[in-house]
């Protein structure tokens, strides 16, 4: 994926979040402070304004700018978390004009580690990590097996949605939802859901 395609893909991911912002906010409203969709849509709206000026940059720099913009404009926990993720992904892709599946997987791993560190969180705490980590593992396995990018991304999206379903079965121990703890069981995590939507959008462009 080159810069032109990457910018178009980020725009589509932003449009997806904008279209789903009420749904994401409603999910967040049930278990936490009800700002996830609105905040993330505001952040991606600001990202959209910056993308045109990045057409001559390499993909890694585009992703870093996306991350920094989200940190500055989201206003909720998804700002530092998504922001860190995009910045780590961007840093991992430094010097590359075209993103390959192995590049993306290596970057996604660093993004996961960055988000774990930023959120002081791990798998099984009802967060975006519960879709990110299985998605990355499934993509890697499918890629190693088939060397087929479309198949790898499809496997990643399927695993990410399974991760979203899994978040319904567990109590939140991190983030605002941890304040309602056990009562969060039965509800899906907004962050895991929004990550899966973004990944699904990317998969559609591969």
């Amino acid at each position: 994926m080159n810069t032109e395609k990457l910018i178009a893909t980020i725009r589509k991911a932003g449009a997806k979040i904008e279209a789903e912002k009420d749904f994401l906010t409603e999910l967040d409203n049930v278990i936490a402070d009800g700002d996830h969709g609105i905040n993330l849509a505001r952040g991606f709206g600001e990202v959209d304004k910056k993308l045109d000026a990045l057409a001559d940059k390499e993909p890694g720099d585009v992703l870093k700018t996306v991350g920094m913009t989200l940190v500055s404009t989201v206003g909720g926990a998804s700002g530092p978390l998504y922001g860190t993720g995009f910045m780590k992904l961007g840093a991992a892709l430094k010097g590359k004009a075209d993103i390959t599946v192995p590049d993306f997987l290596a970057g996604l791993q660093l993004a996961i580690e960055g988000i774990m560190q930023r959120g002081r969180s791990t798998k099984g705490e009802k967060t975006m990590l519960d879709s990110m980590i299985p998605a990355k593992e499934a993509m890697e396995a499918k890629w190693n097996e088939t060397q087929d990018a479309k198949a790898a991304f499809a496997a990643g999206v399927a695993a990410a949605w399974e991760g979203v379903e899994y978040t319904k079965t567990i109590a939140a121990t991190k983030g605002r939802a941890s304040y309602i703890g056990e009562r969060s069981i039965g509800h899906q995590d907004p962050g895991a859901t929004s990550f899966t939507m973004v990944l699904e959008t990317v998969a559609g462009e591969v």
């Binding site: 402070d33 700002d35 905040n39 940190v71 500055s72 989201v74 206003g75 909720g76 926990a77 998804s78 700002g79 530092p80 978390l81 922001g83 860190t84 930023r118 959120g119 983030g175 605002r176």
Partner: protein, 127 residues
């Protein structure tokens, strides 16, 4: 003198905590960074950066945060200001602000105040 920034999701809470601290420590540089630019709930990278700028001196600045994104955003602001003497305190925000500013006014260093603040969360109110 060590300065302080109060980071909260709520503009009113941040302002209120800063006011409370000023009651006992009138001369301490303390700035509030609460809510988003439009006044809604959230934490703003820019507001935190600006607040640090207002109270910064070579003695350093301690940030007190409420929770969640306040902690993570404060952390990212600190990372973006490499080379400056900045630290986050892990303590209740109101009690920490009063303790920390009184300590600063008494001339304690950033490191000494952080040690004091680490004890604030362990104090019981009803014992």
């Amino acid at each position: 003198m060590v300065g302080f920034v109060i980071v909260s999701h709520s503009a009113k809470l941040a302002e209120g905590v800063a006011d409370l601290a000023r009651m006992m420590a009138k001369t301490v540089p303390i700035a509030a960074a609460g809510g988003l630019e439009d006044g809604s709930f959230g934490t703003s990278f820019e507001k935190i950066s600006n607040a640090i700028g207002q109270v910064y001196s070579g003695d350093g600045v301690i940030l007190l945060m409420d929770m969640g994104s306040a902690v993570m955003t404060a952390e990212m602001v600190i990372e973006s200001m490499e080379g400056r003497k900045l630290a986050m305190a892990d303590c209740p925000i109101a009690e920490g602000a009063v303790t920390g500013t009184v300590d600063a006014e008494a001339g304690m260093s950033l490191e000494e105040i952080l040690e004091e603040l680490a004890q604030v969360g362990t104090q019981k109110k009803l014992q």
